[in-house]
Symmetry: C2
Subunit: 330 residues, 2 copies
């Protein structure tokens, strides 16, 4: 049986700080219709696709909470689910997740995959949170993901959907080859990811011109070294004064970019992906059973556990921890 799927990367241009979810969802439905017109059955939206990239500001209370989803779908996001089911499209969606675990508030940078039948088949919570914990005055824009999200507690799961083995990750995860490798070892044939990547990297501005190169290098290598398809989708363009890269693309298991967006606004790019092509790599140069040498990889899995590190950070900075609100001293 053929395992070919026409797939789309559905890039979003900027979302304003005060833009409603209803507006963002309407834009996504329009992209989905374009993708559908080009034959797509699978669409990948960006990370934090429903709102502006709010970790660029120090926020608290309602000003912060309003950027999180407490249910999925919600009344505002249900139209996206309905449109997808009606068109027979499966989709990846990134959003900020807020849940109550007993009395404890938990916040994650999350993605889900929704099947063409409307079932949430996979869920992922971002593992590699970039940025910093505390407000830093010298920055034109903050990058407070380490403050606003917990380390994802689901690892890197794979799931079966649309005839293949699927994996997900988010933004900074793609820079870490361990992300793709764990998914690859679990058999992922397609890795979907969304990103919000500023053009300007304040700690090393001498690399600003390399952001597109690094984005593609990371994803193309992740595809090639694991013989998996990769679809990476940006939120792009000048968002609240902060320029975000585009370069959304579909990458073959050979590492070749086979479709990509051309601008930094709302835009769709489409390609047919044949999941059976993963075998070209996975049965040959990247036949893991024959050629990997895990006995020599020990240091990769060593090091302080994230929970210890988080505890240490929390104690040192007395910042926004599991239940406490940000303190005035931040």
């Amino acid at each position: 049986m053929s395992r070919k799927i026409v797939a789309a990367t559905a890039q979003l241009g900027p979302i304003a700080r005060d833009e409603s979810r209803t507006s963002a969802v309407a834009r996504m439905i329009a992209l989905m219709r374009t993708a559908h017109d080009r034959g797509a059955r699978l669409v990948v939206f960006p990370e934090l696709a429903l709102t502006t990239f709010f970790p660029r500001w120090l926020l608290e209370g309602h000003d912060l909470d309003r950027f999180y989803e407490t249910e999925m779908p919600s009344p505002e996001t249900l139209p996206l689910f309905d449109a997808a089911r009606e068109m027979g499209i499966g989709f990846y969606l990134g959003f900020a997740e807020l849940l109550l675990d007993g009395e404890r508030e938990r916040r994650f940078n999350t993605s889900i995959f929704v099947t063409p039948e409307g079932r949430i088949a996979g869920k992922y919570r971002k593992v590699h949170l970039p940025g910093h914990y505390n407000h830093e005055d010298w920055r034109a824009f903050q990058h407070l993901e380490k403050r606003y999200f917990e380390h994802g507690d689901l690892g890197f799961p794979v799931f079966e959907a649309m005839g293949g083995t699927m994996g997900m990750c988010l933004c900074n995860d793609r820079r870490w080859p361990e992300t793709f490798r764990v998914l690859g070892l679990r058999g992922a044939e397609l890795v979907m990811l969304g990103y919000n990547t500023p053009q300007h990297y304040p700690q090393a501005p001498e690399h600003d011109h390399l952001q597109d190169f690094h984005n593609h290098l990371s994803m193309q290598h992740g595809a090639y070294a694991n013989g998996a398809w990769v679809i990476g989708t940006a939120k792009a363009g000048l968002e609240e004064g902060c320029e975000l890269i585009g370069g959304s693309c579909i990458i073959a298991p050979t590492g070749e970019i086979v479709a990509r967006t051309q601008g930094r606004g709302d835009e769709v790019a489409v390609a047919e992906i044949d999941l059976d092509r993963c075998r070209e790599l996975r049965e040959n140069v990247f036949n893991f059973a024959l050629h990997r040498e895990p006995g020599d990889y020990g240091p990769i899995c060593e090091g302080a556990d994230i929970r210890e590190r988080t505890r240490a950070e929390t104690t040192r900075n007395s910042h926004f921890s599991d239940t406490a609100a940000p303190t005035a001293s931040d």
Copy 2:
């Protein structure tokens, strides 16, 4: 103190099956002189740089043994060491190593780094052996590295030389991000590697046109994701009827190729490498202490130990094992 080094990749064109080590060494000394004339103090030669790439044939007895080094330097290789010391150049050299461990013959695909003072400061034995164990009739050329070499028993060591922390690997190792990551975690600022990579990959010939792309993709990503310099050097050109890729290059910690060879013959390319530039990555986006999540990488280090797998292969194939010569049935 400045840690800038002018470095060279010293690519070799083909070496004929019957070409002597004396001839190969003379060619390497000529490349070293060219590199020296361009100001280089460090030169990287290819994998198995002293002979033809002999794993392309099924060989036994003296026909096989003659491609291995039993001492380093030997009378034939000493002129290379002498020339390097005289010019004040440190160099990386790949060769086939044969040693006696008690009664047991051991064979490795090995590289060494020799300091400008003539001291062997680092030694590496190839971990990721590509290819196959037994002769396969359908192949125009064999790739019998799994038969002719043991799995390297030194892991991925780093060593101090010329003011920096150095690492080495060989050919197929570069396709595995684990290689660069283990070296990166150990602090490598420069990773040197040699390769012999056929243009034609018999199991997936539809990828033949991608060999140069995959070569650079693997090395550029290894550099970027670990904030390390990489120098990769080919044995290139039409060697005994088998076309080998070139593309030898020097790659900055940003992943940018800053020098590369242009042809497939004996050729030098030179660049100044500043070891302090590694910090641009390692103190920021790839600050391992702040951003790695080893608690989620477990599957990377799991799996059958190489020794178990080798035993299983040896038993199943009754092929060339530690002490036995190839059997006629192969």
